[in-house]
Symmetry: C2
Subunit: 353 residues, 2 copies
């Protein structure tokens, strides 16, 4: 029942700005290019390596922003790396990248800014998704069992069961309020939307032509091959400047009738904060997570990153201390999801006369 | 009664390593070369400017270590700046530098690592000390009214009164334990030893020849003039390699009978920690002391220094956060006197294979 690898492809989305890891993350080195994955790999490299267990490198398209093309090529040798002329959200990005796949191909869509450690379970679930997508015109999503009432995630409500761990999707809900998120977690019918998908190219383009006809039309008939990367970028440059910026969730998933969801058997973490990253890292005898030139003195349960010079907190508990040539962040672990407040303050300061 | 300025001199001691302000302080830029004085001046420049109100620049000798000669020359234009071949504590340094003064001159000894803001009171007290030293063979010290039971300072116990705010010295006590320091503060008979002195060259050398004859002998008869700096350094190079390393307190003050003390009318702070420095700095609306590229987000009563890149603490109270290209320090304000623990940990880490 497994599809042959020759008809499989993957699109890795690697264009995010990833500012949650300021000051480690920079425009030149956003979250997906930081060594946040297990084994000290970048999240992008880890995503690529997972994809390589499903298909060869030449079937993998990396879509990023123009400034990161070279960095992504280093992380993903052999892949097709293309730079978006401008950010237009996921629906146009996926529709454009589909031009590298054949009409009868199925391809996975993989964000590159989260962590997954159980690669065997990942490969098994994606094998299953490719089989489903090859057999029927289905849009396959992956639902993550929610462990907390996150209000910044999208949720998938399961409908009728199709087979073990596979259901039709009853409804998508983006970023519910806390009360609703708590209901979802308690009710057991909802999963987090991981943002990973598998579908046939034809199935996807057809669903897009229903949800956003103009977007589908803009990329219809485009066909590119490995080696055409710069021609592709030139071709989509014009299209992107006029096409609607819209997510694949709004444009396709929330309107299509043929969406199914697999309850993921693998772990998943979106690493939304320094704290979230630290929870997956090894700790020292006093519970500290350290990276680089970190010199904790009498600290407990701290997250300490020293990139370039010694970072030496003394007598602290449950704090995040990160120093890079870009700047220094210090906050309580519990506040580390609010890093946006810091990046905004740093930008505001730059704007000062 | 005032002595003419032509017979006055000053020796500014500027050789300290000053590690209490790590990571701002470095071997190349120790405490006395940091802009910790009021008006953003370096402590050395502020010391020099105070001395200039008592005598012209060419009567001021700056003694530092060889690596800091150029930096001290920039801070103290017109002064005689000499580099010690090695650290030998204060008695040899003063005996050597005395070679730039005449036998009938009086000179002040001024450490360069503390803060004094009331310059008028400083000048008046030193004028008085020079007058005393010119009239009688006295070793004049300056006592600071103690405001807390510091155990890292030396204390001067006052004896018989000679005139308003001038007493004979009954006894010196170095670094008492806390109980004794508390007694001293409560008793009202003790003052902190500021490490500043005024004496005639002849008076000093005579007292040294009693306390440490070999040290006095090693420098006896040496005479140098402005322009002789490098010859002076060569001459003392040999002497320093064999002379005893001993403080002027042990070698002279604790044994001489002719020591008097002036109750200082000026303020004085040894700036022994980040906290001590911050107490003398202006604060923002939320009580934060900031320097350089400091970007506090929702912080209160913090000390924030950003040298070279934005230093952005979020949601902190009563903390010290200092980032320089040399490293990052984070601790509670109340712990900032323990920075030595950090510098030792940073050094230990460098020694690792």
């Amino acid at each position: 029942m497994t599809t042959s690898t020759s008809s499989r492809g993957a699109l890795i989305l690697a264009g995010g700005r990833g500012e949650r890891f300021w000051p480690w993350s920079t425009p030149e080195r956003p979250k997906q290019l930081l060594p946040l994955a297990s084994g000290g790999r970048t999240l992008l490299a880890a995503t690529f390596q997972r994809a390589l267990q499903l298909m060869p490198a030449e079937r993998i398209v990396i879509m990023t922003n123009a400034a990161l093309v070279a960095a992504c090529e280093r992380e993903c040798p052999g892949a097709i790396v293309v730079g978006e002329p401008m950010g237009r959200n996921t629906a146009p990005a996926i529709a454009a990248a589909a031009a590298f796949f054949g009409d009868s191909d199925a391809f996975a869509v993989l964000p590159s800014d989260h962590a997954i450690d159980d690669e065997a379970a990942f490969v098994a679930d994606f094998d299953r998704a490719f089989t489903l997508a090859a057999r029927e015109p289905l849009l396959v999503t992956f639902g993550i069992k929610p462990t907390s009432p996150e209000t910044s995630f999208g949720y998938i409500q399961r409908g009728a069961a199709l087979s073990d761990r596979v259901h039709r999707v009853a409804r998508f809900t983006e970023k519910p309020d806390l009360a609703r998120a708590q209901e979802y977690v308690a009710g057991g019918q909802h999963a987090w939307n991981s943002g990973m998908f598998v579908w046939g190219k034809r199935t996807f383009m057809q669903a897009l032509s229903v949800g956003r006809p103009a977007v589908a039309e803009a990329f219809a008939g485009m066909s590119f091959r490995r080696g055409d990367e710069r021609a592709f970028e030139a071709a989509i440059g014009q299209v992107f400047s006029t096409v609607e910026s819209v997510s694949v969730d709004y444009a396709v998933l929330e309107v299509a009738p043929n969406v199914v969801t697999i309850e993921a058997a693998f772990d998943w973490d979106d690493l939304g904060s320094w704290s979230a990253w630290a929870r997956r890292q090894p700790v020292d005898a006093r519970g500290n997570v350290t990276w680089g030139d970190a010199v904790p003195v009498d600290c407990e349960r701290c997250v300490i990153v020293g990139d370039g010079a010694p970072t030496a907190p003394m007598g602290l508990q449950d704090m995040v201390v990160v120093t890079t040539p870009q700047g220094t962040l210090v906050c309580r672990r519990e506040d580390s999801e609010q890093v946006r407040r810091v990046t905004e303050a740093v930008r505001a300061r730059k704007g000062r006369p």
